[in-house]
């Protein structure tokens, strides 16, 4: 998933970004409300982690602005305010979830995943394509009985393709989803990742699941027999 973190604490933003990237997400970080609003308007984020108390425009103001502009990206509010009225205000302003600082990173990651599932469709954490099983909860992948050892980037790519099962996904879309502002790839990186992912999926002569639509992109679908 592509995630935007709007958090004025550079150190907190840095560790959240590092952790989420380790989980295969593309994560952009900004430190004030105005920048956060600009980024959210321009980029197709799946989830925005938004601090409430921000320099310049505060988080609630950013959230209201986004909702007023019909930007329906899922927003998880991160804040030190733990009062019931603060939570209610946040949720009523259009937030999808609310997490009080300090928080466990595992909980943050689980909530981000839950919001991502809302974006991508199936609410169940296990996706099946033919004999391919992607367990998004455990972050594991197997083909038949054989577990696959995927890199973070490969897993993110497979999961993104699985979320758009049967659809042709362009290279640009893949780049937007898999790479944040700090790691913008060249054109060969996506093709290279597709290639290595195919090698792992098709080991032992298993049928091809990722098909190339020349000039259009890639599609994840059941093998053609």
């Amino acid at each position: 998933m592509r995630i935007l973190v709007v958090e004025d604490s550079q150190r907190l933003a840095q560790s959240v970004q590092a952790g989420l990237r380790k989980l295969g997400h593309a994560v952009d970080v900004v430190h004030d409300g105005d920048q956060g609003l600009s980024y959210a308007r321009v980029n197709p984020y799946d989830v925005i982690l938004l601090d409430i108390m921000l320099p310049g425009r505060d988080g609630m103001s950013v959230l209201r602005e986004l909702r007023a502009e019909d930007v329906d990206t899922h927003v998880l509010l991160l804040t030190a305010k733990d009062g019931v009225s603060d939570r209610v205000d946040g949720l009523q302003s259009g937030a999808d979830d609310y997490l009080v600082k300090p928080f466990a990173f595992e909980e943050l990651a689980a909530r981000v995943d839950a919001l991502g599932r809302r974006v991508r469709g199936p609410s169940t954490p296990v996706l099946r394509i033919d004999d391919l099983v992607i367990d998004t909860g455990a972050r594991s992948v197997r083909r038949g009985d054989r577990p696959l050892d995927l890199s973070r980037r490969e897993y993110a790519l497979l999961r993104y393709l699985a979320s758009r099962l049967g659809e042709t996904v362009s290279r640009i879309e893949i780049e937007d989803q898999l790479y944040d502002e700090d790691h913008f790839p060249n054109s060969n990186v996506v093709a290279s990742t597709i290639c290595s992912l195919r090698d792992k999926l098709e080991l032992d002569g298993a049928g091809r699941l990722i098909h190339t639509r020349r000039g259009l992109g890639y599609v994840l679908a059941e093998p053609v027999h």
């Binding site: 004025d8 150190r11 840095q14 560790s15 590092a18 409430i52 030190a80």
Partner: protein
């Protein structure tokens, strides 16, 4: 624990007991005396009755006693006793009831008989009276029988030597008038019974009165103290969470009205103080959440991927940085609390204010210059103060430090005006950040214009400290926003006497003006 109810009841009881004992004692004495007088009068009547039986018959005195008429002098359980003596002390006659026993001879006159208590012949407690009865011969005495000797009921008064009444003695002086002494003794039992009944009655009355006082007094005291009980019940319902309540002062007795008013004033101050403490605690907890979140997030991520050295290094770095920030915050809070609690007492010294301001500005000058700020110190070199230099330095260090951090480029101006016993110092700087509504919050602990809490340099306690310290120095602080300029007004006495230095108020800083004024 002392009890007003018990104290009042006991006091009332003691007072009533004393009053009753006094009045009872007086009553008892008066009634006893009256009863004894009455008894003595009856006794006196008895002896007089016997005296009236004496009749002079020449040399003899006839005693017309008839035991049939006066059976009380016969032996018996209720017997009375008498004895007659001649004036020479010779016993002449005694009642049959006496038997072999004797009565003591004591006597008074008819007008003033002598009474005394004694043990009767039969052992009973008795009372006796003695009177000397004159038996002088009169002109009408019939001496016809003188030579015939005394009859059975006649007593030889004088064996021929005693002169008759009115006869002078050989030396020319009047001879003593012959008399007979009669002593009558009777049982005291009726008198003692009456006295015992009187004592019993008084005792019963005292007990009854005591009971009534206990019951009635307790009721009266209880009724009198009811308003205190009601007040107490109202006060006991006031908890730390319900400090907005006030005790009902309507209908409170006049004596308790000042107490109720003062109590309500105290509750008002407590409410403000608690509210301030609550806000302070909430703000402090809020203040610490972000650094804790930073530390926790960094450590969680590092634990999740322990092989990633960069993440581990990040945790170590975060721990150090967060510890320093939290330590700075805690130090600032502790300093603020110490000053608020009045633990930092002023130490007075004589110093020039201009020099102090220059000293404070020196380390700030470079950063100020980077932000396009210069200091315009307009304080006259002749302005001297006798106050705590260290505490006053806290005030101006915070004011000037804030100006350097937050003011718009331009001048930070500082000047003073003499106000008689006090000096008013003004610090102004341009700002387009503050709004009029912000001015009320400036002295609030942890308030920042920017809600974000990641400003490691400023704890958010600076202006709160300014207000508190100025108050300790006997002055006050006022914040004003005038034409895009923040003007902080500090008024402090020229000379602070240690004893006059007020302890800081625990009441929340009022809006705009902070301090005791």
């Amino acid at each position: 624990m002392r009890s007003i109810r018990r104290h009042l009841t006991l006091s009332l009881l003691v007072a009533v007991l004393v009053a009753m004992a006094t009045s009872g004692g007086i009553l008892h004495a008066r009634v006893s005396t009256a009863l004894e007088d009455q008894f003595d009068a009856a006794l006196s009547a008895r002896v007089r009755a016997l005296g009236s039986l004496l009749e002079r018959e020449g040399k003899y005195v006839e005693f017309n006693y008839n035991d049939g008429v006066m059976p009380q002098y016969e032996p018996g359980p209720e017997a009375e006793f008498f004895t007659l003596w001649l004036s020479n002390g010779v016993e002449a006659l005694r009642s049959a009831s006496l038997g072999e026993a004797a009565l003591p001879r004591r006597s008074g006159t008819v007008d003033a008989p002598v009474f005394w208590d004694l043990a009767l012949a039969d052992g009973r407690a008795g009372r006796a009276v003695g009177i000397d009865f004159s038996i002088a011969a009169t002109a009408f005495d019939d001496d016809d029988d003188d030579d015939e000797g005394p009859d059975d009921d006649e007593i030889l008064v004088d064996d021929g030597e005693a002169p008759s009444a009115g006869t002078a003695g050989a030396d020319g002086s009047a001879a003593p008038e012959p008399f007979m002494t009669i002593v009558v003794a009777v049982s005291r039992q009726p008198l003692d019974e009456s006295l015992a009944a009187l004592m019993g009655g008084l005792g019963f009355a005292a007990l009854a009165a005591l009971g009534l006082v206990l019951w009635g007094g307790s009721m009266a005291v209880g009724r009198g103290l009811k308003p205190i009980d009601q007040l107490s019940a109202q006060v006991s319902e006031i908890k730390a969470s319900t400090l907005s309540r006030r005790v009902e002062s309507m209908g409170v007795p006049r004596e308790l009205s000042p107490f109720a008013e003062k109590l309500n004033e105290l509750l008002g101050r407590l409410e403000l103080s608690f509210d301030k403490e609550r806000r302070m605690t909430a703000a402090m907890a809020h203040e610490l959440r972000t650094p804790i979140a930073e530390l926790r997030s960094a450590s969680d991520v590092a634990q999740r991927w322990p092989d990633d050295q960069a993440l581990t290094d990040d945790v170590v770095s975060a721990a150090s940085e967060v510890a320093l920030r939290m330590s700075a915050t805690v130090d600032a809070v502790m300093r603020y609390c110490r000053i608020e609690a009045g633990q930092d007492r002023p130490e007075i010294e004589h110093f020039g204010l201009r020099a102090l301001i220059d000293d404070i500005w020196r380390p700030l000058a470079t950063r100020a210059s980077d932000r396009g700020l210069t200091l315009k110190n307009e304080i006259d070199t002749g302005v001297f103060l006798d106050t705590d230099r260290g505490l006053l330095a806290i005030v101006f260090r915070n004011l000037l430090g804030n100006a350097v951090s937050f003011a718009d480029a331009g001048k930070v101006r500082i000047w003073s005006a003499d106000r008689g016993l006090a000096l008013r110092v003004y610090v102004s700087n341009a700002t387009d950040e503050l709004q009029p509504e912000d001015v009320d919050c400036l002295a609030e602990p942890f308030w920042r214009k920017e809600a974000a809490r990641t400003d490691a340099e400023h704890s958010g306690l600076g202006l709160a400290l300014v207000a508190s310290v100025t108050e300790i120095l006997g002055g006050f602080t006022t914040f004003n926003l005038v034409g895009g300029e923040l003007v902080v007004e500090i008024e402090i006495p020229h000379s602070l006497t240690p004893t006059a230095a007020p302890r800081p108020s625990r009441v929340a800083v009022p809006s705009r003006r902070a301090g005791t004024g």
